[in-house]
Structures are given as structure tokens and as C-alpha cells.
């Protein structure tokens, strides 16, 4: 799970920008969509009003034509004569001939008594309204109306006109003629002729009885589904008014405007209506393409805006921040690096603040370096002083000790025993002074932390042991002491500073010989794991528990040591420091009256020590 806080700033910004642009895009689409929907409804209501007028006009024209046709036939002299003669054959012949050009669905002729003279559809029982219209015609009125007949079990709805057949000279009514046209699919198609996107349906008894579209197979044809049919509207239409539905009807995404026109209010009971559908496909297509184009343009603009904002942010914020981040690492202590300040904005201010901080750090670093250099210089001065001290003290001591010995040996003439003794005391004092100088210099180096070992590989500790044993023997000459050894065979060669290891062991064995009056001093050496252990055991007075601590502290000789005289009190502290400089240890096991054992452990081959001379 990636935490948002861990994501890089540029990703966060991009995400935010995308979010904002996404919201804008969705909002725009919704706005455009609702706007175009309103526009479609407005255009739809205009179109439907227009089409309703046209259809009403067409219907009126059809009625007028019917009236013209029926009156024209009724005023034909041979026809009037034939009706006057009540000659069925002649009348039938005349209307059949006339219908060749009139193309009516039915023509009926009655005589003055209302008896049928001719009928173009003799098999079909005429509806009651037929006689109603004809009766009104026999009274001398010409009129139009809607006929509903049942033909083969189905309602056949037709529009018809009647006219009286008048005896022109006497002004009497000889009979009447009625012409009717079925309102069928063909009729509706003619009515909607050349009106693109206009569909008509004949609604009667809550059913669509005829339609301009012919194929039922095409399920998307709206007149074959009942989606546009509104029973409420049909009821309103029955009262004789035209109804335009407020809402658009949608069929397969294509919107339609719907209206109902009453065909005639002249018929009792039955009120067939004309359903007018206006397909608003062009608007729909236009709306869709506009929407798509707008979204496309908006998307492109959004991408461009995103890119501009992103690159601006990159330049203004993220790049300077990255520079800041890189420089802020100050790798390798490069505190002199500064961030170029590109402006006075927040990033610029941050860079300026950072530069101030870097400046402060650099100053502190400089003063620290100066202080360090100063400290190093004073260390060097101190070292040089110590070196010079050592040189200046040793040079006269060389003369003092050796001249005195030379005199004491009688090389410059005879000296008596008393003189020899005194001269030897001068030599011993000189040597003591030399030891003191050595120890004080070593101690000051240890305290200044500037003690350096001269490390060599493959040091044979046997020669060191031989050296300390012979020194020990020289020191115990006048005492009833015995030196014992217990040295492991095949001791490993060690990595160490030979002189310093020798110095440690000489210090220990000197002390052992100095403080032990009788018994023995035993030198042991053995390897344990990765350490070389030197143990020097004596049968001296032993060291109390308190003194076991102070023996390793500089300038704190033990009470016994002080009484014994000689020694600087620095030997053991120096030895301990030297052992520790090797990565080793120095410690005592002792009991008052039973003697002491000093242990020195030196690592056989410490990785901490690096040979001073590389072969």
C-alpha cells in the first residue's frame, strides 16, 4: 500500500490536475447535454406545430376535393337524368366510369326515397352513418363526414362527402350521391407526401389502425411499437382539440415530437384521430456530433492546459526543488554550493533561506576547520617541543653517564673504591634521570593521544623473553632469587611494536625483581585463542586490592613502591596504555603476603594494527 505522502510531488500535482480537469470535463458534458436537450425540445415543438398545421391543411384539402368531386358528379346532366329515371344500370355505369379517374374507395347513389340505386362495393353492408349523411343530402345539403364500417370483422374508417342530385328546372331533389375514401396506409402516405421525417398514424378506439410506415419487420419504426401512443391525449382529442405532447418521445435514442389531430367531430361516438410524429433525428445527430466535437476540443484543450500547467509547475517549482534537494545533500562536505535564485516566489524564498543556512554552515565549517588546524598546529608544536626536549636532555646525559663510567673504570688514571662507588652512583642517577625522561615523554604522548606504534609482522617473542630474562637476572644479582620459565613451545609470531612489547615486559619484570626479596620470579608465555599471554609471577609482598587499582594510575606509586624508592610511578600506567594501544590488556592477580602475577595479553594478529613498513 503506497501512502500518498510518499509519492513524489510531481506525481501528486499531475494527479491533482487530472482530477480537476476530469471534474471540469464531466461538468461540461452534463451542461452541454442538458442544453442540447432543451434545444431539441424547443426545435421539436416548433417543428410539430408546423407539421400539425400542414397536416390539417392537407386534410382540409382532401375534404374539399371530395366535396368538389361529389358535386361535380351530381351536376352531370346524364347522371341527373339517370337518377331521375331511377335507372340502376345507367347510374352504376356512369359512376363506374367516373371512378376510373376519381379513384374513390366507395360511391353510393340513392333515389329520392333513399333506396340504393348504385353501390361500388355492393357486398359491404353500409354503416349507419352512411344513411345519416345521405339522408341529410336528400334534404338538399352537401356535407362531409367520417364513416366507420366493419369489413371482414375489421373497422374500416373512411372520409366521405355527400351531395344532393337536384332537378335543375324544378328544383326538386331526385336523389343523393356519396363518395368516400378509406383512411388507410396509402391515404396517410399521400397525406404526408414529401414531408421528411413526418410519420402519421390513424388512431381509433385506442389502437393505431393505419400508418405511413409499412414494414412491421423494422422494430425501430415507431408506429409499430406503442411507445408514442398516449391514451390520455386521445381522450382529449375526442373533444375536438388538437393535442401536442409536451415531452419528446424517444425510440432507440431518436427523439420524436408527438401530436394528435382530430379528423372530424362530425361522427357520433367514434372519434378517429391523426397521430403526427416528427422525427428529430437530424437534431439528435447534430446534438451528438456537437457534443462529441465539444468534448474532443475540450479534451485537447485540457491536455494542452495540463501540459502547460505541468511544465510550468516543473519549471517554477519542481525543478528548483530538485536542485535544492540535490544540493542540500552537500555530498562530501561541499558547503560552498549555492542554489541559483530564480525569483521572489516561495521557491525563491526557500532557496534564499537555504542559501543563508548553507552560508551559516559554511562559516561554522570554516571556523571549525580553523580551530582544528589550530589544534593540530599546537599539537605539532607540542610534539616538536617534546622531541627537542628529549634530544636536548639525552645529549648531555650521554656525556654524563659515559664520561663518569670511563673515569670509574680507571681509564683516566687510578680511582679508589670510594671514588668508584660515588662515580657509579652518578651513573645510576643519570640512568634514573634517563628513565624518568623516557617515562614523562611517553606519558605526555599517551595523554595527548599521540602515541604511535611501530607495527611489524612476524615478531618472535622468544627473543623478547630472552632479553627480559637477562635483564631480570642482572637486577637480582645480590638477592636469593631464582628465575623460572614456562614458555610454550612453538609460540606463534605476533604483529606488534617490538620495542613497546619489550618495554611493557621490562617494566613488569623490573618491578617483580625490585619488590621480591626471596623465592622466585616466574616468566610464563602461552597462546590462547587469538591472544598471546605473558604472565610474570613473583613471591613478593603482594598488592592490596586498593593498590591494584592505583598501580595503573599515573603518579600514584603504591605505598610499598614509595618506600622502596626508585621508579617514576609511570611504568605501569604506560605499560597498560601500550598494551591497550595494541588492542590488548594488562591486569594483576595478587594477594597480600602471597605474591603477585602480572598478566599482559597482546593480540596475535590484530586487524586494528597496520604494519608501518609495507614490504
Amino acid at each position: 500500500m503506497v501512502r500518498l505522502g510518499n509519492i513524489s510531488l510531481s506525481i501528486k500535482l499531475s494527479f491533482l490536475l487530472l482530477l480537476v480537469l476530469g471534474v471540469l470535463l464531466v461538468a461540461t458534458i452534463l451542461l452541454l447535454y442538458s442544453n442540447t436537450a432543451t434545444l431539441t425540445e424547443e426545435i421539436g415543438s416548433e417543428r410539430i406545430a408546423q407539421e400539425v398545421n400542414i397536416m390539417k391543411n392537407h386534410l382540409a384539402e382532401v375534404e374539399k376535393q371530395l366535396v368538389v368531386n361529389v358535386n361535380f358528379t351530381a351536376s352531370n346532366i346524364p347522371f341527373i337524368q339517370a337518377v331521375g329515371r331511377r335507372s340502376t344500370d345507367t347510374v352504376t355505369g356512369l359512376i363506374t366510369t367516373a371512378n376510373n379517374s376519381l379513384d374513390m374507395d366507395d360511391i353510393d347513389v340513392v333515389d329520392g326515397d333513399g333506396k340504393v340505386l348504385a353501390d361500388l362495393t355492393p357486398g359491404v353492408e353500409d354503416a349507419a352513418s352512411d344513411s345519416t349523411l345521405l339522408e341529410s343530402a336528400l334534404k338538399g345539403n352537401s356535407s362531409t363526414g367520417i364513416l366507420v364500417k366493419e369489413v371482414n370483422g375489421q373497422d374500416e374508417i373512411s372520409i366521405s362527402a355527400v351531395a344532393p342530385v337536384n332537378n335543375i328546372r324544378q328544383g326538386t331533389v331526385l336523389g343523393a350521391i356519396q363518395m368516400s375514401q378509406n383512411i388507410d396506409d396509402e391515404f396517410l402516405r399521400k397525406l404526408a407526401f414529401e414531408r421528411d421525417g413526418v410519420y402519421l398514424g390513424l388512431v381509433y378506439n385506442d389502437q393505431i389502425r393505419a400508418r405511413t410506415t409499412s414494414s412491421e419487420a423494422d422494430s425501430s419504426v415507431i408506429l409499430h411499437s406503442n411507445v408514442a401512443f398516449s391514451p390520455d391525449a386521445v381522450k382529449l382529442v375526442a373533444s375536438g382539440q388538437t393535442v401536442v405532447l409536451d415531452k419528446l418521445i424517444s425510440n432507440g435514442n431518436v427523439p420524436y415530437a408527438v401530436a394528435y389531430i382530430p379528423i372530424s367531430s362530425n361522427v357520433n361516438g367514434a372519434s378517429p384521430a391523426l397521430m403526427v410524429l416528427v422525427e428529430l433525428n437530424e437534431i439528435y445527430v447534430f446534438q451528438n456530433s456537437t457534443l462529441v466535437k465539444t468534448i474532443f476540443v475540450f479534451a485537447i484543450l485540457a491536455v494542452i492546459a495540463l501540459a502547460v500547467i505541468y511544465f510550468s509547475l516543473q519549471t517554477i517549482t519542481i525543478q528548483p526543488l530538485n536542485v535544492l534537494k540535490t544540493i542540500a545533500h552537500m555530498t562530501g562536505g561541499q558547503y560552498d554550493q549555492r542554489i541559483p535564485i530564480t525569483g521572489q516566489d516561495e521557491v525563491g524564498q526557500l532557496a534564499a533561506t537555504f542559501n543563508e543556512m548553507a552560508e551559516a554552515i559554511q562559516q561554522r565549517e570554516t571556523s571549525l576547520q580553523a580551530a582544528r588546524a589550530q589544534a593540530e598546529r599546537s599539537d605539532q608544536v607540542k610534539s616538536a617541543f617534546l622531541a627537542s626536549m628529549s634530544h636536548e636532555l639525552r645529549t648531555p646525559l650521554n656525556a654524563i653517564i659515559n664520561f663518569t663510567r670511563y673515569v670509574a673504570k680507571g681509564s683516566l688514571g687510578e680511582v679508589n673504591a670510594q671514588q668508584v662507588e660515588t662515580l657509579n652512583e652518578v651513573v645510576d642517577s643519570g640512568k634514573h634521570l634517563l628513565n624518568l625522561i623516557n617515562d614523562v615523554l611517553d606519558m605526555s604522548k599517551i595523554e595527548a593521544d599521540s602515541l604511535k606504534l611501530f607495527v611489524e609482522d612476524d615478531i618472535d617473542v622468544k627473543s623478547i623473553l630472552q632479553s627480559i630474562i637477562s635483564t631480570g637476572k642482572a637486577l637480582m644479582k645480590e638477592k636469593s632469587l631464582e628465575i623460572q620459565t614456562d614458555i610454550q613451545e612453538n609460540l606463534p609470531l605476533i604483529r606488534a611494536d617490538r620495542q613497546r612489547v619489550l618495554q611493557i615486559l621490562l617494566n613488569i619484570i623490573s618491578n617483580a625483581c625490585k619488590f621480591t626479596e626471596q623465592g622466585h620470579v616466574k616468566v610464563r608465555a602461552y597462546a590462547v585463542a587469538d591472544e598471546m599471554i605473558f604472565a610474570i609471577e613473583d613471591t613478593g609482598p603482594g598488592i592490596s586490592v586498593e593498590d591494584q587499582i592505583s598501580v595503573f594510575q599515573p603518579f600514584k606509586q603504591t605505598t610499598t613502591g614509595l618506600r622502596q624508592g626508585g621508579g617514576t610511578g609511570l611504568g605501569m600506567p604506560i605499560s597498560k596504555s601500550l598494551a591497550e594501544a595494541h588492542g590488548g590488556r594488562l591486569w594483576i592477580e595478587s594477594e597480600i603476603g602471597k605474591g603477585s602475577t602480572f598478566y599482559c595479553a597482546i593480540p596475535i594478529k590484530s586487524e586494528m594494527l597496520i604494519p608501518s613498513l609495507v614490504a
Partner: protein
Amino acid sequence: MDQDIAILYVEDDPRSRKVMQMIAHDIGLTNLTIFEDSTDFKVKVSALEPKPRLIFLDIHMSPHSGFEMLEMLRQSKQFDGVPVVAMTASVMNEEVHRLRTCGFDGCLAKPIDFDSFPEALNRILNGEKIWRIVS
């Protein structure tokens, strides 16, 4: 040890020269040459007859320091295999470190130990490198 072995000692401090002369007298060295300064060292050392078999050099000298004299000797094939030992009172850690890294064949610290000097001399002549710092 041959008593007449040719030894060269370069030393500007008169007391140290005297110590060396006393030691030589005491142990019977008969062929000890002493240079009192390092002027024309290269010329003078090359002219020595017989050629010294052991050379002791003081370090703090002028015009040439012990290190410079060592360098001159090392450049001359004449003194191949002749041990050159520092004899100095400057035996602090860093100084000895420098002596060892510069190629001295050993070091005897001042004050010189009268008693152990003959043994040290023998060991040096046997090719051993002695760094006698602790007296």
C-alpha cells in the same frame, strides 16, 4: 671481532665524539674515523682508505642532515652492503619511524650504553638490524 675494523662516525657534538673515542679506546678499536661536520661528505667519504665497513651517522647536523648523508651513501655503489646506523638522541616515536622508513640499518640511542655496545656492534656487523631505543 677484528679490532682494526674500519668504522666511520660523523658527529658534530664534541661530547658525543669524546664518548665514542672513549668507547673505542676501551674496547680497543683501532681504525675509527670521525668527521666533525658533514661538509663535502660525499667527497670525503669516497676518499676514505680503507673503505669503512660500518658507518654511524648523527642526524641533527649541518649542512647535511643524517638523512641526506644516508641518501648520498645509498646512491654510491661503493657503499653497497655497508651498514649505516643512526646514532642519535632524537628517538621519539616519529623520529625512529622516519629512520626506519628511510632505510637506516639500525639505530643506537644516546646515551650509548657502554656495557652493551660491543655486543651491539657484533650483531650489526653480522647483518642484524638493531633498534636500541630503550636503554
